[in-house]
Every structure is written in structure tokens, then in C-alpha cells.
């Protein structure tokens, strides 16, 4: 296959990755890494480099619409970014020490865990009405958004800030190690531990993953892991997909969103575990 044809193919795949990534808040890296490594047998480090770019593109591309629609909780996002950036820094320093196989297994286990916990949680649980969480109250993290699927304004309180921040540290570390935005961890953390409604969790995760990825991108960039021939079609394709995807999320039924999320996580998890174990 010629390099030009390869680039065009990667561009098309990236549009889909961006679309899916924007809707479920996971950055598209979870799609890009397996396709590049499993289908095209690209070196995992280069795939991770391209994926870092994909994460930033998904985040920045979709965030514009999500913020305007007020689905992103900016205050929660910025608060949790403290955890993700420190975690990402730790992860980027560990990446050359951790072997490839371990990365695949870690990736698989993390995604499977997220998928199972998302499936178990109740899709129609009522948002939290008031919170005893001192940090959440002090920083005024509570918010509301308009659900375009039901036409109702959903007002919610935020809790579990400490657990959330701790999980974000882990998520940041894993995203630097694997080149995913680790929205796959962020969304369940916000949804399950902090009781933020799924759509707001997804949009806020999408907002944060760009910064998480940027924290480790500098390291990858100077190591030469961001191959321009590979990263360019990924960046542009994902941007196109993310902009389209960001127009869909608001209108989606939250229950359907949850099932899409769980399905995506489980499929990729199985692929990655297989790669790491056999």
C-alpha cells in the first residue's frame, strides 16, 4: 500500500473515530490505536503519538459546540484538570520503562472495567439535588444543562470531589502511558463517583482530555513519536468527525448513549487484551 493511499484511508477512519469520540467523550484514541496497531501493524509508540494528536483534536473540535450549548461543566473540568495533568506528567515519565505488552493489557483491563461499571449503573437515575461535599459547594461546581432530547433543563449537584480528583490522577497517568484521552475512565468517574449526569460527564470529559493529552504531547513530540505523515491525516479527519459528532450528542437519548459507550469499551477491551496476552 502506498503512503498516499494509506493517508487517505487513515483520514477516513479518523473521521469515524472523531465522531464516536466526541459523542462518548473518549477522544477517539481508543479507536485509532487498535486500528493502527492491529490492522496496519504500525509501531505502538507511533500509534500512541498519532492518538495523542487525535485526542487533542477531538477535544478542541467538539468542545466549541459543547461549551456553547452549556453541556460542559467548565468549573468541574478545570478543577479535575489538576489531577489529570499531574497524572499525565507521571505517566509520560514512566512510558519508556513500561513494556508494550503490559500497555496492551493495562489498556484492555481499564476499558473492560469502565464498560462493566457503566453497564451496571442506572441510566435513569435522578440527578443529585443537593450536596454535602464541601469542596463542591465552596467552588460552586453544581450546574445545569438543557437536554435537547427531552427539552428539559437538568439541574444537578456535584459530590465526591476527592475521589474524583484521585481517579483523575490515575486517568491522567494511564492516558499518558497509552495515548488515549482516558475519557473511558473519566466519564465513569464523573458519572459514578461524582454523580454528574452522563451527557454532562461526556462533554466535560471531552473538554478535559485535550489538556491531559497536551501535558504529555510535548514529551512525545520531542521523542519523534508524532510522525507527521501519520498524524496529519489523523488530526484533520478527527477534527471533521468531532465537529459533526458534537452536533449529535445533545439530541441523543441518554440510555442509548450509555449502551453505545459500553459497547465501544467492551469491543476495544477484548481486542487489546488479546493483543497483550497472546
Amino acid at each position: 500500500m502506498s503512503a498516499l493511499f494509506f493517508d487517505l484511508l487513515i483520514f477516513s477512519v479518523s473521521i469515524l473515530a472523531g465522531l464516536l469520540g466526541a459523542v462518548v467523550g473518549i477522544g477517539g484514541g481508543a479507536v485509532i490505536v487498535p486500528i493502527l496497531t492491529l490492522v496496519f501493524h504500525v509501531d505502538i509508540r507511533l500509534a500512541i503519538g498519532a492518538s495523542i494528536i487525535s485526542v487533542i483534536a477531538t477535544s478542541s473540535g467538539a468542545a466549541v459546540a459543547y461549551i456553547r450549548e452549556r453541556m460542559t461543566n467548565l468549573r468541574v473540568g478545570m478543577f479535575l484538570e489538576m489531577g489529570t495533568t499531574v497524572g499525565a506528567l507521571t505517566g509520560a515519565l514512566l512510558v519508556s520503562v513500561v513494556p508494550d505488552r503490559a500497555l496492551f493489557i493495562l489498556f484492555g483491563v481499564v476499558l473492560a472495567w469502565s464498560g462493566i461499571s457503566m453497564y451496571k449503573s442506572h441510566a435513569d437515575a435522578k440527578p443529585l439535588e443537593s450536596s454535602k461535599d464541601k469542596i463542591a459547594n465552596y467552588l460552586k461546581l453544581h450546574s445545569h444543562y438543557e437536554d435537547r432530547a427531552t427539552g428539559q433543563t437538568v439541574t444537578y449537584s456535584v459530590t465526591g470531589t476527592k475521589v474524583g480528583l484521585g481517579l483523575m490522577y490515575l486517568a491522567g497517568m494511564i492516558s499518558a502511558l497509552l495515548g488515549i484521552g482516558s475519557g473511558a475512565l473519566k466519564v465513569p468517574a464523573m458519572d459514578l463517583a461524582m454523580k454528574i449526569p452522563l451527557k454532562a460527564s461526556s462533554a466535560t470529559s471531552n473538554f478535559m482530555i485535550g489538556v491531559t493529552a497536551a501535558a504529555s504531547a510535548g514529551v512525545y513530540f520531542s521523542k519523534g513519536d508524532i510522525n507527521p505523515i501519520l498524524a496529519a491525516p489523523v488530526a484533520i479527519g478527527v477534527l471533521v468527525g468531532a465537529i459533526i459528532g458534537s452536533r449529535i450528542l445533545g439530541k441523543l437519548d441518554a440510555k442509548i448513549l450509555r449502551y453505545i459507550f459500553v459497547g465501544v469499551l467492551l469491543v476495544i477491551s477484548i481486542e487489546m487484551l488479546q493483543r497483550g496476552l497472546f
Binding site: S2, S222, K223, G224
Partner: protein, 142 residues
């Protein structure tokens, strides 16, 4: 009656002009960053393939591999751009994309500072310092 209930909860929600301003500024920064990056990357990769006919027909496994070398330091990227090479322009675009979230954090810091929201000034400052540290460490890793 339902409206009243919503109002009661709403009082706890931070819905000030400050947050509106932050939202507008943040989404503008992202939009501009993404537009610049996409233009440079698209232009750069097109020029790269036009400049090197061999590259386009080369098997992708040699190009999308560790054997393929390209500039990675600001100096060499700058040199590549000066020489009108597409690869330099592509890398500049990718760099602009990476910078976008960082500039987003920096501008939201300014918005919070302007509205004297001290906790969030501290939070965004902390995030910015960590981001800049990781960039500095990235350079050292060479």
C-alpha cells in the same frame, strides 16, 4: 410550581457573567486554535506529497515507521519551514494543535483573574505550571 423548584436549586449554581465570559473566551480560543492548526496541517501535508513524488508511492510501512526521520526540535522545524518544506509546515500545525489546550488554560486564568475568582485563579495557575513543566521535561528527554 415546578418553575419555582428549579429556581431554588438554581441559586446554588454558578451562573454569573463571569462564567458566561469564560465560556465565550474559551470556545473562541479553541475555535481559532483548531482553525490555524487544521489549515497548516492540511497545507503542509499536501505540499509534502507534491514536493516528494517518491514519498506518495513509497510503501506506507517505511514512512509510518521509526525509520522515517523528520525534524523534532524547534530549530530544525524552523529551518524546514524556511526552506519551504511541507513537512515543517505540517509539524508547525501539529504543534499549534498541541498548544491549543494550553493557551485555553492560560486565557481562562486571565478571565478568572479579571473577575477576582481567587480559587479558580489558583486552580488554573496550578494546571498551567504542570503543563509547562511537562513541556520543559519533554525537551530535556532528548
Amino acid at each position: 410550581m415546578e418553575d419555582e423548584e428549579i429556581k431554588a436549586v438554581d441559586e446554588k449554581v454558578e451562573d454569573s457573567d463571569e462564567m458566561r465570559r469564560a465560556e465565550i473566551v474559551v470556545s473562541m480560543v479553541l475555535l481559532v486554535g483548531v482553525s490555524i492548526a487544521a489549515t497548516l496541517i492540511g497545507l503542509g501535508i499536501a505540499i509534502t506529497f507534491i514536493q516528494n513524488h517518491n514519498l506518495a508511492s513509497e510503501p506506507y510501512k517505511t514512512v509510518a515507521s521509526r525509520k522515517f526521520h523528520f525534524p523534532t526540535t524547534p530549530q530544525t522545524i524552523f529551518k524546514s519551514i524556511i526552506h519551504g518544506q511541507g513537512i515543517g509546515i505540517t509539524l508547525l500545525g501539529l504543534f499549534a494543535l498541541i498548544l491549543t489546550p494550553i493557551v485555553r488554560v492560560a486565557t481562562s486564568l486571565l478571565v478568572f483573574k479579571k473577575s477576582h475568582d481567587t480559587p479558580f485563579v489558583l486552580i488554573t495557575s496550578f494546571v498551567l505550571v504542570v503543563l509547562l513543566t511537562s513541556f520543559a521535561l519533554g525537551r530535556l528527554n532528548l
